[in-house]
Symmetry: C2
């Protein structure tokens, strides 16, 4: 019997498992964060160079693009995961550039609805096409089956995180 050999292997696995098991979540987080930063920086650079736009502006316009009726600023804030005060400034600048229009509905004067202008729609749709291509290029070396798996499993992470938030978040 090769009992002594397999005992060593088992020990290594155990030790390794003990080391990695401890901080596995931390390591995943650090890798997710650095990868996200890397991709964000690349997209930001290209948006700037090729379209003179910023990433937060692009994100905000993306939300408005699929809600042609426009969105309240509060709703925009939730969807872009950006604070209310920040949305105010973003919409202000986009309005100054003629890409977005602000309207206060008759029914409720507390509300401001933001909506893409015709110019905004044209501008965004060009950026969106390029944006999608950039992502395909950046992930070109990753097997599509893996991409799909990642999409699913990161969904599980997001779901777990959502269920363990400290704040008063139960909407």
């Amino acid at each position: 019997m090769a009992e002594s050999e397999s005992a060593i292997v088992d020990l290594e696995i155990i030790v390794q498992g003990a080391q990695e098991g401890k901080k596995l979540e931390l390591r995943l987080w650090l890798r997710m964060l650095s990868t996200t930063k890397l991709i964000s920086q690349e997209i930001r650079r290209r948006l700037r160079n090729e379209f003179g736009a910023t990433l937060p502006q692009f994100d905000l316009m993306a939300q408005l693009y699929r809600e042609r009726e426009g969105l309240r600023l509060g709703e925009l804030s939730k969807r872009t995961m950006v604070t209310n005060g920040n949305v105010t400034g973003l919409v202000e600048r986009l309005e100054a550039d003629g890409l977005v229009q602000r309207v206060t509905p008759d029914g409720d004067r507390r509300v401001t609805v933001a909506k893409l202008t015709a110019k905004g729609e044209t501008s965004f749709s060009a950026m969106a096409a390029a944006h999608e291509g950039w992502l395909r290029d950046m992930m070109a070396d990753v097997d599509p089956a893996i991409v799909r798996e990642l999409w699913r499993d990161i969904g599980a992470v997001k779901s777990s995180v959502s269920n363990h938030l400290s704040g008063t978040d139960f909407d």
Copy 2:
């Protein structure tokens, strides 16, 4: 929205399924981004509430913690993926709080080396322990095998992205 007719829902699933193959990378990116934002916001909130610190400060201190000799600001910039100018301000504020110390070595007066103070080390090690726990909690519902898989596969994504950057990045 209204849960009116299941026929509509089925149609949506079919249509969505056809679209999925096309924009898989885009959808992965959007999910990565939103998940990362979610986790960041949670960590930020807890760092603020429990330690009065910010996330970038924590990140910077983490780098210094494992280099007890300290790091040049340029090296800090690379490791934290933060621009040079930004590091200057971060270190300034941390120094004002007595957590970090700046030293100019004798050999080269262009250089500034940042180093944790004793107070900084104590402060960071408390935050680090909590931080690791937060991540374990947030990801508690995810199978450790999946966490491990994600860690590996996101590594593949990062690698692919690194090989398809537009900038003059070849270090």
